[in-house]
Symmetry: C2
Subunit: 110 residues, 2 copies
DNA sequence: ATTCTTTATCGTAATATTGCAATATAGAAA
DNA sequence: TTTCTATATTGCAATATTACGATAAAGAAT
């Protein structure tokens, strides 16, 4: 496969796709939704809730963290994972911006 | 690889991840942004703008269409692809909902 | 009817992702 | 220190994704 090189697109487009890639798996969507449903967020809970082995959950958490969607704070023996509000705000802005531009467009086509 | 079966997660989580998967590639982000930047949207233009071969662009367009992010109208010899405003609205709702729930949460952790 | 133009599909090769078992790491508890 | 508990990393195997060339399909133009 001739790899799509990062320089083929803008750095911003590349990073945007990376954030969406982090959400492009049902397990990671489930993690986000689980984190949202509890007040305290300990990783151990997540392993119990998901139908996946611990190393697999750990890997999914790492990807969400790398994308900036969650942040993890070491809390003694456990790690407290939480959704990063800032990134959620950025995503809202991203789609709000698309929506605003669509409203300005000539809607003659489609 | 033991596949993650759809029934391991909710149907909704699965479908949500599919929409994000459609945006999880810089080429597809670039396509969305290009469609946003022009009033008339013909596929031929997209092939010229992207650093990818025509069959590859066609495939990316298909994935965006399958995810409901764009819609294509056959217009004689060409196809007019446009962003589906409805899906953008759904995505705004998705993240607004997350944001609202975060604001209600006990922020003692993280 | 033939040719051109545009888009889609197929075949195949390369790379990326996902999953789990095994193992490592590191702080807590004993 | 030794052991327990929680999380991360590594090593592989299986599957999915991506890319392009070749080709098909279908309407437009001649």
């Amino acid at each position: 496969m001739k790899q799509t090189k990062p320089q083929d697109f803008t750095e911003e487009q590349y990073q945007t796709s990376q954030v969406f890639k982090a959400l492009a798996h049902p397990a990671r969507v489930a993690i986000i939704e689980y984190l949202l449903s509890v007040d305290t967020c300990i990783c151990g809970d997540i392993v119990d809730v998901l139908p996946l082995a611990q190393p697999t959950v750990s890997r999914h958490l790492k990807e969400l963290k790398n994308a900036g969607l969650i942040k993890g704070t070491i809390e003694g023996n456990t790690i407290c994972y939480c959704i990063d509000e800032n990134m959620i705000g950025q995503l809202i802005n991203y789609f709000e911006n698309i929506s605003a531009k669509l409203n300005l467009k000539n809607q003659s086509c489609c």
